[in-house]
Symmetry: C2
Subunit: 431 residues, 2 copies
């Protein structure tokens, strides 16, 4: 079955907002056995929305539209949908009541604009929105099913998970399944990962791949089974394993076989799977080891702390941080010696070590992690270039320190340094 | 002229990565007078890439492909492009030399996989990549121009800005211009903004908009001139003003007229324009007022500090932060009284005020900003629910504090609290 996503919103074509909903839905539909084959984006223009809908009707059996259900003038989805399906818009009293009480419960009266959200095309199943005012919709046109979801990501996700997933599971019991697993690595470059596993990926050398194209059926489907793809981020490489077939347990076995072979070659460079983050893994290891952590940040400016505290329950193991941009605070709150600052500079092994020890003591934590470096774009010298970062980890009476040289713009250097710090902590906790 | 973007990568259709390049290019092309009319996404499958290319040749005069130029097995763009254009792939010695020296300069030898990146379709202009190994390409097919750019965002941006923009400016001197300006607000809901400016948006009431569709030419183009659209984020509403025409100075006047009218109605709710962030504006105001800032964070866990330090040059006004998750650090590093913690709790006006005063003192800064609250998902009670946040600002001997109630998941509450804190600082600095 061919599924299609249509994102609606001029802001998407003008590039003012990044479409995270498309990625979310594509991933979730894939796991339900529905493969997204087309993804298109149109502006808030009636004729273009209608054109995209009619094109989708002609080629896809399952369509999800995203956005354009809000209360404002440029929210056109329902109006155009009704016209394309030859239906009229009718007032839904229940939705109207729900929207009104959303406002009255907050002591506000409903703005006139919101009444628009209570009009829906005839013969439509309403998907209640418990976290916002715009309800979603499910409509049928012959064999085709059309789902309309609101654009705000957490409203879309809630409605999709609570109401659309059960609908899909009932309507399309999976036949041709696709199972995907992602192995997440950090510390290696894309070509290093490729070098280590390329024979698993295709069995061809790169020159062979250029000179001898793949066999016809491989070229037609573009994939082997299992197929393996790499995805490079500034902070690490994801390895995506995909298998297709009808027998779920066999697919899981296939995945496990490839995973074990790749795991054997890459070892601790793999930190997690699927949508796990480094901070989740580190949090889990801290929790299991019953250890607490504190952080002294200079060039990362709070990013390591922000990542650690994104994890629910992090207050069980995370005690606190000192973000020490000025030398004054390095001395005062972290106990860094003036002598070390003068002799070696704030970006040095010596200061990194003292920061790690100092924050551990100030927070009475088991571990102290410290990052000091030059995030740029200015502040670099010939001896201490932009991207030079020292990361130290204090545990008990011991302190380890490591030098890194990162490249990229300021925010990328912050990301890379934060990742390397969390990874140093992870590797310590694995021992 | 119709322009089209084709994003290539199975990871995009599986939802494993969010396409930020599309948004970037759409926005930049718009400012160069080139309107992106189609945006499509295909997987790393030869036949699908070829299909998308052939469809684009049939309807668009300017095409940009994104991704698929890397060294690995699933990077297929050049191979398919050559076939679709009836060209063969040839080895470019200069590119090969460049890639080799990239590696040797780092003391590494070139992995065999990277040689693939030195093969390009015949009669192609090479776009040098100074920040990575995959070069971009410009090709012509009759009247159509095809640009291929690598997927990593900072490689794509650098090549686009340095080499594609000058090419576009020479090849397509702008005729029909589109100028966009975004006014960024925080502190108002979408329907509140809509209520205040909806007559500027269309001159229709919402009920009229449902009952009386727009006039034919409005419905055809879907827009008035100037046209105004709203875009809701969890932390604020963007107002997008777009004008079209041929006379640049007239367009600027039109924008200025609308901007002034909206500015009059929304006042200080507007914090910036276009891609300005709250932290940029706050940083600028701190710098202009020659004031330094320090931050005490509890529920935001370092996010305010991370945002402030994302701005190059922030070391001129940002001194440091204490992220105080445990009460111990609140007492020890910020001087919060045990009595206040026991009597009022860590999430209280009293503790917020003491945190703001304490961090100002610890960092010897002019201002102290403090955030304490419950980010959830657990930890809430009936009296102190998840989302309750106190924000305090200490300046001289004065401390102000404000209570907020935010909703949403943990990361959204962190974002909203960080935004409210920066906004409180901004409004103080504007006085």
């Amino acid at each position: 079955m061919k599924a299609e996503l249509i994102s609606i919103g001029t802001e998407l074509l003008l590039g003012q907002v990044v479409d995270t909903n498309g990625a979310y839905l594509a991933s979730r539909l894939g796991s339900l056995g529905i493969e997204v084959c087309y993804k298109s984006t149109v502006g808030d223009i009636e004729i273009e929305i209608e054109h995209a809908l009619r094109q989708a009707f002609s080629r896809s059996e399952f369509i999800i539209t995203i956005g354009g259900l809000g209360p404002t003038e440029d929210d056109l989805t329902k109006k155009v949908m009704a016209r394309a399906l030859g239906k009229s818009l009718v007032l839904d009293e229940e939705i109207l009541h729900k929207i009104k009480s959303n406002f009255t419960s907050q002591g506000l009266s409903m703005p006139a604009a919101n009444i628009k959200q209570a009009f829906i095309p005839q013969d439509t199943r309403v998907l209640k929105n418990s976290v916002g005012t715009a309800p979603g919709l499910i409509m049928r046109e012959g064999k085709t099913i059309i789902v309309a979801l609101p654009g705000p990501p957490w409203e879309l996700r809630r409605i999709f998970e609570d109401q659309v997933v059960p609908f899909i599971e009932k309507e399309y019991p999976p036949k041709n399944l696709m199972v995907t697993k992602v192995l997440k690595t950090c510390g290696l470059k894309e070509s290093e990962v490729d070098e280590k596993i390329k024979d698993i990926m295709t069995g061809q050398t790169p020159l062979e791949a250029i000179e001898k194209p793949l066999s016809v059926d491989k070229a037609l489907t573009g994939q082997t089974n299992p197929s393996i793809g790499l995805l490079a981020h500034p902070t690490g490489i994801d390895i995506r394993i995909t298998v297709r077939g009808s027998d779920k347990s066999k697919l899981k076995q296939m995945i496990a076989g490839v995973e074990s072979e790749i795991g054997h070659r890459l070892g601790q460079y793999i930190f997690g799977v699927d949508d796990q983050t480094l901070e989740q893994v580190v949090g889990f290891l801290l929790y299991m080891n019953k250890l607490t952590i504190s952080v002294a940040e200079s060039c990362t400016g709070g990013l390591v702390s922000h990542k650690l505290t994104n994890i629910p329950g992090s207050s069980n193991y995370y005690k606190g941080s000192v973000v020490a941009y000025s030398d004054q605070i390095k001395k005062r709150s972290l106990g860094v010696d003036k002598k070390n600052l003068d002799e070696f500079g704030a970006v040095s092994e010596q200061v990194a070590k003292q920061m790690a020890r100092g924050v551990r003591k100030a927070c009475k934590a088991d571990l102290g992690l410290a990052i000091t470096g030059i995030a740029g774009p200015t502040g670099g010298t010939h001896e201490r270039p932009v991207g030079l970062v020292y990361i130290a980890l204090a545990a008990g009476r011991k302190v380890k320190v490591k030098e890194h040289k990162f490249n990229g713009p300021r925010e990328v250097i912050k990301e890379k340094a934060a990742t390397a710090a969390l990874d140093m902590l992870r590797r310590y906790l694995l021992k």
